[in-house]
Symmetry: C3
Subunit: 268 residues, 3 copies
């Protein structure tokens, strides 16, 4: 138990009460699961990517979640348009640079979004995050090839350089804005066996950012809540299929008491 565990419970209470609209421009693979994750947690997801609609849609939203998983140029244009509008409105933007470092298109797109909009939080694995600084790392698809410890060393520096909060996920998650460092120990080994758990963690950060103005606590409490839901889900799971479904149930059912006692968030 910690102050941030209580913050996690408070944030989820606010989400369930206010049902913030989360505008997602995300990849085809995870759209359905991400929407279900947000609904189960109490938020109100909308997926909309048409260039002639995104500015209007994001103006209703509590946060904007961008995910470059199955991107093409026309989607990038819509992401940039939505991101600039959100920047003007002061709406939090959460970016998931899926596969950044693996192909030029993804690396360039992730960097372009960060350059051209006021991104609040970036959530990725260590390899994806490190690729944002121009290191010549190569991710193998969406898998991690660098350790979280690699990222911890340079994470704070990169966060300051980019002027945003980094949420670097792995067996242990690391959240830093360059001044503060928070570690989150929740999660379960079955998570990487379900597609979209990383993307869903990003979406959940979007929901938390819609009710918590501090990006570091929003990201850390979101990751702890999501990871704890994974732990609860694993108790009922016989494999990745039943785990994926039990995770939705857990996101919906976790009580404030369970959140306060179960979240393992360590302020370094």
């Amino acid at each position: 138990m910690s102050d941030l565990s209580e913050k996690a419970a408070e944030n989820i209470r606010l989400i369930r009460e206010k049902r913030p609209l989360i505008h997602n421009i995300t990849n085809f693979v995870v759209m359905n699961y991400t929407a279900n994750v947000l609904l189960a947690a109490g938020a109100s997801p909308v997926m909309a990517h048409a260039e002639n609609e995104v500015e209007e849609m994001v103006s209703f939203a509590g946060s904007l979640v961008l995910n470059i998983g199955t991107l093409t140029d026309v989607w990038v244009a819509s992401m940039l348009k939505a991101a600039r509008k959100a920047s003007m409105l002061g709406t939090p933007i959460v970016l998931d640079p899926v596969g950044s470092g693996a192909t030029r298109l993804r690396t360039n797109t992730a960097r372009e979004i960060i350059t051209r909009a006021r991104v609040t939080i970036v959530r990725g694995n260590a390899s994806e995050i490190l690729s944002l600084r121009g290191a010549d790392s190569k991710t193998k698809g969406v898998d991690t090839i660098h350790s979280v410890d690699d990222a911890a060393g340079s994470g704070g520096e990169l966060a300051r350089e980019l002027g945003l909060t980094l949420a670097i996920t792995g067996p242990v998650d690391l959240v830093t804005d360059g001044l503060r460092i928070v570690k989150v120990e929740n999660g379960h080994p079955l998570m990487p066996f379900v597609t979209g758990t990383g993307c869903s963690a990003t979406a959940i950060i979007g929901a938390f950012a819609a009710v918590d103005p501090d990006p570091v606590t929003a990201a850390a409490t979101a990751l702890a809540f999501f990871g704890l839901s994974g732990e609860k889900a694993a108790e009922k799971a016989a494999g990745p299929g039943s785990f994926m479904i039990a995770l939705l149930d857990a996101l919906y059912n976790l009580t404030p008491e369970e959140i306060v006692s179960g979240c393992r968030i360590i302020q370094a």
Copy 2:
């Protein structure tokens, strides 16, 4: 029990026997779940949206289901092309105006499809339906902000004006063609916590419309069957994840006897 409950059982019997092909042009978020819902109910779904394919595909179909959930201009063009072909062939068209009223793109598209094709049934929440008449309602994403009672008052008038059948869903569903009004009381509070349950209800209406030439009874019996499946699913569910899966099982398993005794359809 009512005549329409027996009609619901008869319609599902026909679907399971004939396995009508349902051509869906729908949104990315719900494609997978909608296809599984249709398969579980006994229908044969196909998703196809290429402008150079939709006319050929819809010519094989028992009905055409259009859903504007993640639309872009090129998808709208395909929807219109498929809808005009279906109109010529006398194939029923069911429209789901997801988010109509929330953005201009969606409102204009929903109205354009209704104007330029012979739409048989429109299924939406009260806010979406009311937006079709030019009222300046604003939906919050895909959520309802007007009550079904609001819609009931003006639903009949709007149905006559548009020359089609409206299926206005909410805690109680309302189906009207402007002459007849039918209420459906089936359903479960977990449904809004699963993405695509509204879109799936629309797809199920498409399956019923493929075997029942009366749009009012097709829509009402479809909604009762779908809502009843939700009730059965909730008996086994521990949250929205297990509910979503149990709903597919229930659609597949519901017997004629359960349908006749469980459907609550009231002719007003």
Copy 3:
């Protein structure tokens, strides 16, 4: 038990050990489920379709899986680009000609991919496979209207003519390269009630082809493993929803011993 059952166990052991990257350019309906199927089996899926990314992505991959389920012209261009690159690299290409025979766009696309790239294995139902030879068969959506026996008669000839391995699935699956014929008897009647089981079988063939250089044994052992997982799933299923989830669990949990004893692969 047979030599090929032991080969199936060996192939799945290699997949779980090496976690080969499988590059999928597939349809919107099944992307999520296909990715989860590949993850559950131990492979590492990536979905990427941007024309300016596919050549780079496929160069990291152990195999390329192409699926024409919701194709449009721009996707076809990306498939061809990826396929030509894979051909140059000697990377196995597995094609799923979903709905080939039903519309001209699909039939022409399937044939064009086969003509312009070095496709290793084609997996489809009998109707789809037969459509590749210019027979005037018409598939009803993605359903089978020709029997596997029809296909068996002409399958070998067609495989030789096209210069590739055919995996023709149905109640009994048939794999042939025109010289050898293998039948696979695993599977379960609930499979056709879940969307994407055919597409997932194709993706699993992609995973097996990434570790087994013989297309005939790769396809046959993949289909046996996938079908056996369906049999295990059915033991725990109450309908197509719970079946779909239990299938993911089974893909993850099947042991080498279960695979050796459960696979029913017959060399004709």
